[in-house]
């Protein structure tokens, strides 16, 4: 390195001597032909170069590193303070049992596939050099292969895999509990993240949320903020036949479903079975037809909660507009009504013991009206509802003066 430096100095001094005349010529040239100018570089102190480099991403730093010995050394030595490369990790299953690592880059997408079988022979640590995992995906399909792969990545990365956001997509309901348990163990052991996003389908949400003993599957300790996204639809069937909502049977069948759903919801709200609930947001997408029902169940579940609710900090109810609107206006979408007239909101409220107040917009620059629903028994707890463009946001809040 010292040899490289002296060579550099000698050269730079020469450049400085020639400077003034050359510079004038160069700047004139530049104006004439808008080309990248030759900016002769003097001996640059380490700090200045590092400061310039800290503005660049890893792609550019790769280029800088191959410019000359001096720059190469600066990039290597300042490794700890220079920007890191953002990569994504995906597990591939099926014929190619591998891990795909993708680089996030606007210029050229590049993916490197790590063949699980060949990792043992040819470990390439460089994939994770100066990298930070922006997103990691797991589809929860084959539980056994997961642990092996996570372990491999950990070995390559040299530590628990640092991940900005982990994305878990629960794609199959087959032996869901078993897979989720396995996943949870691997996740806590090998992944270092504070954000876990879980996506699931209605049937899976239903099968977890309706059984208390499964709720612990959604708990990942106090250090991991969990965000859950699901849709929720209930199918009303009788003797294997789907019953349309304008059928008389529908009203009868829905009662039994409703009863159990509200019971589950109120327990879910109370979350007596949770040890350290840390769900920052639960987003539920419902169809336009079922929005009104589900919304009123949630409110009833909240009302009946026998402990101050604590599971989620925010619940977002989205109405899926993909579903064509029924000709029958029996179950109008909650949202339109909700915004127009608060009495509709009152209409879905259970009658006894609820205080309903409306805060006018403008209080804290919120253009949307905010509705506040205070709990009967725990009067310092309230459900705050805010209408957003395409969704309804419910937040559990503490009320100062009930």
């Amino acid at each position: 390195m010292s040899k490289g430096n002296t060579a550099k100095k000698r050269k730079s001094i020469k450049v400085v001597e020639n400077e003034p005349a050359a510079k004038v010529r160069r700047s004139r040239q530049l104006k004439e032909e808008e080309k990248a100018p030759v900016l002769a570089m003097p001996i640059m102190p380490y700090d200045v170069l590092v400061h310039i480099f800290s503005k660049l991403d890893r792609e550019d730093l790769d280029s800088c590193s191959a410019v000359c010995k001096h720059w190469h050394n600066v990039v290597e030595d300042a490794e700890k303070e220079l920007p890191k490369r953002a990569i994504d990790i995906r597990f591939d299953r099926g014929i190619f049992d591998s891990i795909t690592v993708t680089k996030e880059d606007s210029r050229n997408d590049k993916a490197v596939r790590i063949d699980v079988a060949s990792i043992r022979k040819n470990p390439d640590r460089h994939i994770f050099k100066n990298a930070v995992v922006k997103c990691m995906d797991e589809r929860l399909l084959a539980g056994d292969a997961l642990e092996e792969k996570m372990k491999k990545i950990c070995e390559l990365a040299g530590d628990r895999i640092p991940v900005e956001k982990f994305h878990l997509i629960i794609a199959s309901g087959m032996s869901l509990t078993e897979h989720l348990e396995k996943f949870k163990r691997c996740f806590l052991l090998y992944v270092n993240t504070s954000k876990l996003m879980i996506n699931m389908k209605s049937s899976m949400f239903d099968s977890i949320f309706r059984y208390e003993r499964k709720w612990s599957l959604l708990e990942f300790g106090p250090d991991v903020e969990v965000e859950i996204e699901t849709d929720w639809k209930f199918d009303i069937e009788s003797h294997g036949r789907h019953i349309h909502m304008f059928d008389d049977l529908y009203l009868i069948q829905i009662q039994s479903y409703k009863q159990s759903a509200i019971e589950s919801l109120q327990k879910f709200f109370s979350c007596s079975k949770f040890k350290s609930p840390n769900c920052i947001q639960l987003t539920i997408t419902v169809s336009r037809e079922q929005a009104q029902d589900i919304f009123s169940w949630i409110i009833e579940g909240f009302r009946n909660a026998f402990e101050p609710p604590k599971f989620f900090k925010k619940l977002v109810l989205k109405v899926n507009i993909e579903v064509p609107k029924q000709r029958f206006g029996r179950y109008p979408g909650v949202l339109e009504e909700f915004g127009r007239d608060p009495s509709v909101f009152e209409g879905v409220l259970p009658r006894n013991g609820f205080k309903f107040s409306r805060e006018e917009p403008g209080a804290n620059d919120m253009p949307a009206p905010i509705y506040c629903l205070v709990h009967t028994n725990f009067r310092n707890w309230a459900l705050e509802a805010k209408k957003l463009n395409d969704s309804l946001e419910l937040k559990l809040i503490k009320v100062e003066n009930p």
Partner: protein, 178 residues
């Protein structure tokens, strides 16, 4: 005359007074103190000298030459009342956020494009954060998206890496695209 108490250093009247600054090529610059102290280095000198500061005999700057100091002063004049700039970075990739420059600043760098390195060095020595950070950003802008070959050509850097070393760099970096 001369003396100004150290306590009075931040007074508005003092900012209107002139101070003489001598660059390493023996050029004297008469500068308003309010402008000169955009440089923390000069500001510290003024403060350290305190009682003994002789405004007429001046402050020597052994590491800056006249032509560059002239350009630096132009910046200081424009930025004498500018607030401190904040350096922000992406919490995960650590990449520093890019500053948005004013039309004046853009024009300034267009004008002195071929002096970016000297400005960066001078701003670093004189401790003028705004000029230093912005010049570095301008240099980073020149580097961005260019190949090693283009960078060498632009900055007149000699390629002193051997083929073996280049092969090694390529080998240890799977994401390398050249």
């Amino acid at each position: 005359m001369a003396t100004e108490s150290a306590n009075g250093v931040s007074s508005p009247e003092l900012n209107e007074r002139d101070v003489v600054i001598t660059t390493n090529d023996n050029r004297n610059f008469t500068v308003k103190i309010g402008v000169a102290r955009v440089s923390k280095t000069i500001n510290n000198m003024i403060q350290d000298l305190g009682e003994s500061l002789d405004l007429s005999s001046g402050i020597p700057l052994p590491n800056v030459d006249g032509p560059i100091f002239e350009k630096v002063l132009e910046w200081c004049e424009e930025h004498k009342n500018a607030p401190e700039i904040k350096v922000e970075q992406d919490p995960h990739t650590r990449e520093r956020k890019w500053f948005t420059m004013t039309e004046w600043e853009e024009e300034y760098f267009r004008k002195f494009l071929s002096h970016l390195w000297d400005l960066a060095m001078a701003a670093n020595y004189l401790e003028i954060p705004s000029l230093y950070y912005y010049t570095c950003q301008k240099l980073a802008e020149r580097i961005k998206g260019r190949t090693p070959e283009q960078i060498r050509e632009m900055f007149g850097i000699e390629d002193d890496l051997t083929e073996e070393e280049k092969a090694e760099i390529r080998r240890t970096n799977v994401w390398c695209t050249y």
